[in-house]
Structures are given as structure tokens and as C-alpha cells.
């Protein structure tokens, strides 16, 4: 099973950009948290809080079992909290009230670290032995907020177009490598009576996920660009951004080309996954976390994934980080929490961890067993990838405003100018 469940995704996408974007804007407060090298072990037990229960939490259960077997005198107590809007409040309250966990899952990873770091609630893990082993895109993201390492990104989520191999073969459609080829494929499927692209418009976030992935490929939004920084800080309006205008215009052109189901704005994400698995749609833009939902709809489905063919050549895979493992600044036993993270990053242990979660690796030279659907894009995750929110200047509020307006476009009542204007309005209230 892979990372986040569907209900946490909207929050994930919406909240994801807050810390990151403000960091780009230079609004970040400087933390006084000391960098932790090897903290002292002050007890035999640690508490680990996560939002991943059920099958999604299996990778942690296996890991804890292996850790306790390797170090019989130590215990890891895993607590699962609901991954909804109350999660951060509960964690914050516990840290502030002296009931801090020793380790917790920071939902949305480095992009959500800002409020925790600004309130001095996290330990800087910059001197941990696994830091130099992070793959470049993860290393950059890890330090993206304020240069500190506020957690361990334990896996990478990869996004692209899932495609129905049988339908592609039946209608003699080659994997699109450019935006033009994607539009041509859309026309072929539409003319054949097959809905070209599936999307769960009712849930909003799948639409925003696709458009944010498109924006990430705009040449003006390369990581570290000045426009993204200006957009995030409010010194430039989204309506004056050629990158955003082109991205939303191109998304609108897909809608106008009838690439989506005419009722897409009323279809939920789980239904869209089932529709795709049952051959009602030919392509489905999603992250690898959608595989369980797709497989559940049709276990024998022959599915592959190709990168979003938009501005990049060759098209890069979109990567994102659902969470990172962080040690609170007031953890009762930070030394043992560090030992646990070091154990996780041991090559053989990490390999098992990735295989249990069917996840992409965040460490150099280690990989687990992936779902066959991901084999095509696996090499590109380390060699040709672009981070979802790296440079397009989205903030939590502007991402939410964009999401609503994009669904309006999908429903036939929105426009590029209305979307950009709504994003400007949300930014003005920052």
C-alpha cells in the first residue's frame, strides 16, 4: 500500500504549499533549534505518532517489529491519529503540554514544516548520517523551507498519466511524448467514444494536482526562480504571470477538447479510479498512491504510467512528498528516536520498508519492489523529475482558490482570468 489515503489529499495539496511558498518569500522565522548530531538515549521507549493506520501503516508495523527484534531492550509505541485538519493541532498541543511524542509523521513533509519550525517545535536533523545519502530532489526539498533538515522524507510519490494498455493498443495510440501528441491521443479516444481522461472533479484536488504538475514544468517556474518567489510573497500578481496563464489556458484547452467526462465535476476520486480500472477512461493523471484504488477496481488490469508530456523534453516525472518523519524539539527521548531513524535508513531495512509500502526510494542506491505499472517511470524519478510545488509560487490559500476555480472551468462556468483573479484575491488576504 502506498502513502496518503484519498481523504487527506485535499488537505495535502491545499496545505502543502503554505510553509514552502512562504519560505520562498523569505518570510520564515529563524529557528533557534540546535542541530542534532547524536542525542543521548534517555529511556528504552519512544512514542511514534502517525496518521497511517490500516494497510498504509503496515510498513511502520514491520519496521517497528524489526527494530525491536534487533534491539530487544527498546520499544516503539505507535499511535495512529486521524489525518484530518485536527492532526496538527493535536500534535502541537501535545508538544506544548509536555506530552510530546518522540517521533511523528509531519503530514505534507517539508512543505508543511513552517508553522512547526517557526514555533520552535522541531529538532534539526541536518547532522544525521542519512542526510548525505538523500537523492538530489529529496535533499533539495528537505532543506527547502529555511535550510534546516526538519525531518526524514522516507519515500517519494511519483505522478504521471496512468494509461490503459489495452485501449492504447486497440486504438493504435502511442505513448504521447509532447503536449501535441497528448491532444492527438485525446481526439483519437474521443472519436472512438472512449472518455480520454478520467478525473475526480468533485473532490477538487485531482484537478489541482494535474494543473500544479503542469505548472511545475513551466520554464519560468524552475526551482529557485525569482517569479515563484515574487508570487508567493505577493509582490507579483498571478494574473501577471505568463507561466500560470499558459498553464491554465492549456488546461482549459483540454476541457474544451472534451478530454474529460462531461460530468467530471460531479465525479468523486474513487469513482474516477474505478472508471479508469474498468476501461471507461483511457488515461488518468495521478500519483503512484492511486495504485491500490485502481487495482481494487480491477486487479487484473494492464496499466502503465508515462510522465506528463507538457513543457519538459523528455517529459519529467512529477515527484512529491506526502510526509516526513520529524522529531519534536521537546521529545522526551530524542536519542532513541534518532536511532530508530538510523535503523530505518539501514540499506536492508530500508529495502524491506520500500517493498512493504511499494514506494519509491528517497535514498541513493536503494530501491524496493514496485508495482509493475510504475516500472516505466521508475528510472526517471531519480534522473528526470520535477517537484510538484518547487517553483510555481503557490501558497495554501492560493492553491485552494485555484482548485475551486479549476473545478469551475471543468464544470463549464470558469475561465483562466477568473482563476487568476481568484488566486490574486486569496494572496491579497495573506
Amino acid at each position: 500500500m502506498k502513502h496518503r489515503h484519498s481523504l487527506s489529499k485535499p488537505l495535502s495539496l491545499v496545505a502543502a504549499s503554505v510553509g514552502f511558498a512562504l519560505a520562498l518569500a523569505g518570510c520564515a522565522g529563524q529557528s533557534s533549534a540546535p542541530a542534532s548530531g547524536a542525542a543521548e538515549i534517555t529511556g528504552n521507549t519512544i512514542t511514534f505518532v502517525t496518521d497511517q493506520g490500516g494497510p498504509a501503516g503496515d510498513k511502520y508495523k514491520e519496521l517497528i517489529k524489526a527494530f525491536e527484534s534487533n534491539y530487544p531492550k527498546y520499544k516503539v509505541k505507535m499511535e495512529v491519529l486521524p489525518g484530518d485538519s485536527t492532526y496538527n493541532s493535536v500534535i502541537t498541543s501535545r508538544i506544548s503540554s509536555g506530552k510530546s511524542p518522540d517521533l511523528f509523521e509531519l503530514i505534507n513533509g517539508p512543505q508543511a514544516a513552517k508553522p512547526f519550525a517557526d514555533a520552535n517545535l522541531l529538532t534539526d536533523l541536518g547532522k544525521q548520517p542519512w542526510v548525505p545519502r538523500l537523492i538530489p530532489v529529496v535533499a533539495d526539498a528537505t532543506k527547502s523551507y529555511d535550510g534546516h533538515t526538519w525531518g526524514l522524507i522516507s519515500q517519494v510519490d511519483a505522478g504521471g498519466f496512468f494509461y490503459n494498455k489495452e485501449l492504447f493498443k486497440k486504438y493504435n495510440v502511442a505513448i504521447p511524448k509532447t503536449w501535441g501528441e497528448l491532444l492527438a491521443a485525446v481526439k483519437t479516444f474521443r472519436d472512438a467514444g472512449v472518455t480520454p481522461l478520467g478525473v475526480g472533479g468533485k473532490d477538487g484536488w485531482p484537478v489541482a494536482y494535474m494543473v500544479t504538475s503542469m505548472a511545475a514544468q513551466q520554464p519560468t517556474f524552475k526551482p529557485g526562480n525569482s517569479e515563484g518567489t515574487k508570487l508567493a510573497s505577493g509582490s507579483q500578481k498571478y494574473s501577471a504571470s505568463e507561466g500560470w496563464k499558459k498553464t491554465i489556458d492549456d488546461f482549459s484547452s483540454l476541457v474544451q477538447a472534451e478530454a474529460f467526462d462531461p460530468n467530471a465535476s460531479g465525479i468523486t476520486w474513487p469513482t474516477s479510479a474505478t472508471d479508469f480500472a474498468n476501461g471507461k477512461t483511457a488515461m488518468f493523471y495521478q500519483g503512484d498512491f492511486a495504485i491500490p484504488a485502481i487495482r481494487q477496481g480491477n486487479p487484473s488490469f494492464t496499466v502503465g504510467m508515462f510522465p506528463l508530456p507538457y513543457q519538459g523534453s523528455p517529459a519529467p516525472v512529477t515527484v512529491g512528498f506526502g510526509s516526513e518523519l520529524a522529531i519534536p524539539s521537546k521529545a522526551p527521548n530524542p536519542g532513541l528516536a534518532e536511532k530508530f531513524l538510523n535503523f530505518l535508513t539501514t540499506e536492508s531495512v530500508y529495502k524491506n520498508y520500500l517493498t512493504t509500502g511499494a514506494a519509491f526510494s528517497s535514498l541513493k542506491g536503494v530501491s524496493g519492489k514496485l508495482d509493475p505499472a510504475l516500472e516505466q517511470v521508475a528510472p526517471a524519478v531519480t534522473t528526470n523529475s520535477v517537484e510538484l510545488n518547487s517553483g510555481s509560487g503557490l501558497t495554501g490559500a492560493t492553491a485552494a482558490a485555484m482548485q475551486s476555480s479549476l473545478v469551475a472551468i471543468l464544470a463549464g462556468s470558469g475561465s483562466t482570468s477568473a482563476t487568476l483573479s481568484s488566486m490574486d484575491s486569496a494572496q491579497a488576504t495573506q
Binding site: D118, A408, T429
Partner: protein
């Protein structure tokens, strides 16, 4: 002017003290659970608190100024008012109609009353699931029914079309809460002495005349409660919109409470508190206005 005769006697003073002691527990609970959060909310609405840690700065009325520029929040206010103005009269009219129809005791009316009241017990999650089963544009119940002759219109994209989404939400809300309105009217109807109707009939009054002269005036207290409750419920609407549409498509069904929770999740608790305080003030003004106006009508009745 205070005279010896108007001063409270020791006995009366003791009785007042006993009364006060009886009120005190409820007053403490009310103060802690209702008043304190309102005051705290007002306090944070003048700050830039993120909701993390204890550090924040006072920023005056900036959050309230922002609110006026925020198109999403203004849209949410408009949606909430539209929802309230359409839902409240419909819920009251339907509740009254059902109460009048089912007021007479009997097995059938008793069973029907139970069926109508049952949705009140349905949780928001179940409601969302039911909504999906009913309204799914490709595989919902309405879509299936729309294949029957003459019912094609039912196959619309009920939750995904901005022109229809609000009416779908209102329909589900009416389904869930009309039973509650009916119950209050039934309680009101049970207090009307049957003799009044007998006298009216002897005087030759028909059903409509009886309703106008007896039922409606004497139902005034029940109507007051229903009007105030449906308006407050409408202005605070959240769960039904969240589970059915998540505020979409676009912002077509985004309510003001949804905006508050969204802003909170963006680590903008100060701004969220400001929006919430404005909502609280609106509810307070509307409630007081409605109560004063309707109490006057009750007295006239």
C-alpha cells in the same frame, strides 16, 4: 428613591441567594463553553496567530479589512445567505404542512411521523454516502430513474453543475431536518384546545378560516422557535455542504463555516477567527431581530 420598605428583607435575600446558587452551575458551564470561546475568538481575531505555538502579534483590524477584499469569503457569505433564505421558508412550510397532515393520532400517521423524523439521526458521513448514491451523474439513482420516459431531466449533474449544486444541497438538508421542524409544530398544535375548533365550526368557519383564526396565531411560539432555529442552522451550515459537495463545484456551495475551517488549515487562525466573529455577530443580530419581531407577533396573537 430607596425606602425601608423596598429594601430586601433577610428572607427575600436568602431566597435570592438560593436562586442564584441554582443558576450558578448552568451559568458556569455557559460561561466556559459558550462565552469564553467567543471572547477568546474575538481576541485572536485581532492577531496574526498561526495556531502553532504561542507567539503572535496584534495587528488591529487588519483581518477584518482583509475579509472585505477576499472574494472567496464574500462568495461564501453570499452562498450562506442564499442557502438560509431559500432553506428556512421551505423547511418551515413543509414542516407545518406535515404537522397539520399528521397531527391526528393513528397508526399510519404515527408510523409516517417516525419515518420523517428518522433522518435527523443520520450522521454526516452516511449522508455523504447517500448523496453519492442518489446524485452520482453516471451511476446514481436519479441517473437510473432518468432513463424512464419523461424523466430525462433527472439525469442532470446535480452536484457537479454550479447551477444545480445548491438546490441539491438544500433538498438533502430538507430531507434531513424537516422532521425536526414538524416535531416542534406538532408540539405547538398539541397545546391548542380542541374546544376552540368546535366553537369555530359552530360559527360556520371552514378549515382555512380555522387555520387563519386559531391555528396560525396560536402556533406563534412554535413558529418563532422554528424560524430562529432554521435561520441559525442555515447561517452555520457546514457538514451537509462539506460531505455532499466540499463547497464545489468552484465555490458554488462553499459556506462561511467552510471558509473558517479552510483558513484555519492554512495556519491563518487569526483571520479565521475574524471571519468566525463576523458570523457570530451576524447570527446574534439576526436572532435578536427575529426574536423581538416574532415575540411581538406572539403577543398580538
Amino acid at each position: 428613591m430607596t425606602t425601608l420598605s423596598t429594601l430586601p428583607s433577610p428572607r427575600r435575600r436568602k431566597r435570592n441567594l438560593v436562586n442564584l446558587l441554582f443558576i450558578l452551575p448552568a451559568a458556569i458551564v455557559f460561561g466556559v463553553v459558550v462565552l469564553l470561546p467567543i471572547v477568546e475568538n474575538l481576541f485572536y481575531s485581532f492577531t496574526n496567530w498561526t495556531g502553532f505555538g504561542n507567539s503572535f502579534s496584534f495587528i488591529g483590524i487588519q483581518n477584518f479589512g482583509r475579509l472585505l477584499q477576499d472574494t472567496q469569503t464574500l462568495t461564501a457569505f453570499r452562498n450562506t445567505v442564499v442557502f438560509t433564505l431559500i432553506n428556512s421558508p421551505l423547511q418551515i412550510a413543509l414542516g407545518l404542512l406535515l404537522a397539520l397532515t399528521l397531527r391526528k393520532p393513528g397508526r399510519f400517521s404515527s408510523a409516517l411521523r417516525t419515518v420523517i423524523v428518522l433522518p435527523i439521526a443520520v450522521s454526516g458521513v452516511v449522508l455523504g454516502f447517500l448523496g453519492a448514491v442518489i446524485f452520482d451523474p453516471n451511476s446514481g439513482i436519479l441517473k437510473a430513474v432518468s432513463t424512464l420516459p419523461g424523466l430525462g431531466l433527472l439525469g442532470a449533474n446535480w452536484l457537479g453543475d454550479p447551477r444545480l449544486a445548491m438546490s441539491s444541497v438544500i433538498a438533502m438538508n430538507l430531507w434531513q431536518w424537516t422532521g425536526f421542524t414538524m416535531l416542534i409544530f406538532l408540539a405547538g398544535l398539541s397545546t391548542i384546545p380542541p374546544e376552540l375548533y368546535e366553537v369555530a365550526r359552530l360559527d360556520g368557519a371552514g378549515p382555512w378560516a380555522q387555520f387563519r383564526a386559531i391555528t396560525w396565531p396560536l402556533l406563534a411560539p412554535a413558529a418563532t422557535i422554528n424560524i430562529v432555529l432554521t435561520m441559525i442552522g442555515g447561517l452555520k451550515v457546514f457538514d451537509i455542504m462539506y460531505v455532499l459537495t466540499q463547497g464545489g463545484p468552484g465555490d458554488a456551495t462553499q459556506s462561511i463555516v467552510m471558509r473558517v475551517t479552510a483558513e484555519g488549515s492554512f495556519a491563518r487562525f487569526g483571520y479565521a477567527a475574524a471571519i468566525d466573529f463576523v458570523l457570530t455577530a451576524v447570527i446574534l443580530v439576526v436572532s435578536i431581530f427575529a426574536l423581538v419581531l416574532l415575540r411581538r407577533r406572539e403577543l398580538d396573537a
